[in-house]
Amino acid sequence: MTPPSSAPLDLSGCDREPIRTPGSIQPHGFLLTLSQEGKVLQASANLAHWIGVEAQAACGRPLAEVIGAAAEGLSQDLPGDKLGNRPLYLCTAAINERHFDVLGHVWDGLVLLEFEAALRAEPLDYRHLYPLLGDFLLKVNEKQSVESLAELAAHHVRMVSGFGRVMVYQFDRDGHGHVMAESKEDGYHSYMGQRFPASDIPSQARDLYALSRIRLIQDANYVPAPLVPPQNPVTGQRNDLSFAALRSVSPVHLQYMRNMGTLASMSVSLMVKGKLWGLISCHNETPCPLPFEKRTACEQLGQVLALCIESREDASELQFRLEVRRMMVAMLGNLTKGADVIDNMSGIFPELLRFARAGGVAIVAGDRVLTYGDTPDAAAIEDLVAWLELQGHGSEIYHTDALSQDYPGAAALRRNASGLLAMPISRLHKHYLLWFRPEVVHTIEWAGNPHEKEASGTASGSASDMASIPAPLTPRTSFATWREVIHGVSLPWHVAEIELTGEFRSALLGIALERAEQMAELAEELGRANKELEAFSYSVSHDLRAPLRHIVGFSDLLLESAGSEDTTMRQRFLTNIKESARLAGKLVDDLLSFSQMGRAALRPVEVDMSKLVASCIDKLAIEIGQRNVEWDIAPLPRITADPTFVHLAVQNLLSNAIKFSGQRDPAQIRIWSEQDAQETVFHIADNGAGFNMDYVHKLFGVFQRLHRMEDFQGTGIGLANVRRIVERHGGRAWADSVQGQGATFSFSIPRKLAL
């Protein structure tokens, strides 16, 4: 075979090259496409070379007329409903005294029959495939690391294929290939540990690697044999030869192989979790045929290797995730202990560092910057956070292992902050948790400089094309080791670390939110306490001053009237003094009980409300005196509450009811309750004076009275006490009235106390 012309190749079109529909095949065999009825529709142009029939002449004729008796051996497998979409070895056929391994598959509505020239007359023998795989499988179990598995696979593939150099490549996330294992004959250049740039394999070639798991190029100097006619007669398009073993490959790739000094190559795709993880890449300096059964063995070995890698990766991934999650749970446990989440977080700095395998960690809470480990200084961290905010990273996790590529100010931070994992911890504030990873300066050995694609000397196309089309390129010619020192890059963040940081963030926001709610509750409680305190001091200055003034006033009047004979007047002055003194005393008592109510802890137990009401009524005997009171008390449930407090509340309400129904004979007081899943509601209704609903909002305020002193005695603290007691149980208190007809006071106690 003659070497191909040295015409320049346009690499700018690499990504668009129709590698699935090259329109030609490699010439170490021939290809026929058949209709479902077995009539030849297309033939490769090299048909005459192999069997002496011109391609053009073959078209339109039944298979048997083209390949003669060999067709009989195939007849049982044709038409195509016995064939699948992947080539199947059908037989080894003799045509014109040559031997061919026949592969068949169905694609695009055609049966594709490939006849690979074979040097033997016997059919393929799969028997030595199994010992090979068995040996590999046996050894696979002994090997632990992915690298050692890859090395084992490389060795076995070389043994089976006879290729001079077998490498196992892994693609990194940028698509660069890294040679992780190699097995080679003496005299072959070693690529072990080197990297091949992503640009060596265009994206559509990667797609094809994923589809079709094995590809053999037997001789890089081959002259392709075009299909005749060039179009698939069923579709009218060029044939999709994705799965054809003889498919012709890109001339760019062939040039690449020649540049590399490799005239035969085979690639086996390693698919891990549905993605192209890497390749087993085989090279030979000289052309190297490889029969189908050996290729199949290599393909299966590749599949076993991929499965092993998958399970190893799964196991180590799982192990890693478990470890990171265990750390996260432990941290969260510690974070919920104190009052301030931010403070708590600084208490677990060492754990935070380990969690993300970081060199330094910083908490930014508004203007506060707390650091631990090796971090940039506070000012640099503040600038960095300002930048994060500007980039809109305030609501999501940001991560990079090369901060200086994103952040202009990072050059100075390279040493300890080449890697950054930033977690916003508040939806409202500029709060961040930042993990820093130091620069890992390392050297990459490229198989050739990946940053240069050598331009060819000759430009194709006219000068006007040059403006819009990038300079034509040739495949690279140098595979000499090219060392690159990488700066400004840290160890990459593990997917699990990033994901679990997300979980950690949700949990933290949960804690923070809960904390915020608690704070809001506390603030509300504090506000109420403050108000009560104000009312307290107010009444000390106001309400308590009044009876004192009255005592003084009436005492003076009493003294002045010493000579008077008006005993009724003097008696009244005396009564006033006594009443004022009594009121002052009661006021002090009430104030004390009210202030105690705010401090004392609730001690909830099960309370039988029927018994509690009965005991309150007993205590009201003195207030009731000779009055005629009709009680209508429904059966009351048991509730969970502080019995002392609830007793006080009920006592107050009953005392009110008695007080305000003082004008009625009989006074009627009704007590009943309602219960649902959430709460128990108690109602106490009287048929007394009632109150004007316009003022109901003042009713439960401290020291508020809706009636004149002499009409209804009281310090105006009873209902405030009731409300306070009920609210401390998590319930509500309210009242209804029709003035002149009576009032109903109600309160609720939750079924489940949230204390």
Binding site: H542, D543, R545, A546, P547, R549, H550, V552, N692, R708
Partner: protein, 151 residues
């Protein structure tokens, strides 16, 4: 023709002591007593049980700060918002020395703020002074109460 003094006081003891003090100041003015804020507004706005009273505003309203239903500050606010009442002198008469009450009262446009002295003699003097100043010396704005003595 003397204008009455409107006394708004809910506490019976305070009422009695205030009336004693006013009597001792020997003012000739009638003292109209109402017992809470709502009643005071009814009187001033001539509604409810006071719908039939004759026109005109009192010479002065002595207003207790802490009252049932509608408190003194609310009454004061309504007085200052009502065109026919807004220039009427109002004196806050209270037990409260709380600064907030004082500030709030002046913000609402009170004419004077008097803390009821605990000592009875001082109390009597304070009420007398108040009565003399506001009911006798002070020239009330036009449209004040035209007092027609009951027959």
């Amino acid at each position: 023709m003397l204008k009455p003094i409107l006394l708004v006081e809910d506490n019976p003891n305070d009422l009695e002591l205030t009336l004693v003090a006013l009597a001792r100041s020997q003012l000739a003015n009638e003292v109209v007593v109402v017992r809470d804020g709502a009643e005071a507004l009814d009187y001033l706005l001539r509604r409810g049980e006071f719908a039939e009273r004759s026109e005109g505003n009192p010479a002065v309203t002595l207003l207790d700060l802490k009252l049932p239903k509608v408190d003194g500050l609310e009454v004061l606010a309504t007085i200052r918002k009502t065109a026919s009442l807004k220039s009427m002198p109002v004196v806050m008469l209270t037990s409260s020395k709380e600064e907030q009450d004082l500030i709030r009262s002046y913000e609402l446009g009170v004419n004077a703020y008097v803390v009821k002295p605990v000592d009875f003699k001082e109390f009597v003097r304070a009420i007398a002074d108040l009565g003399i100043f506001w009911a006798v010396l002070n020239e009330p704005p036009p449209g004040s109460f035209r007092y027609i003595p009951p027959n």
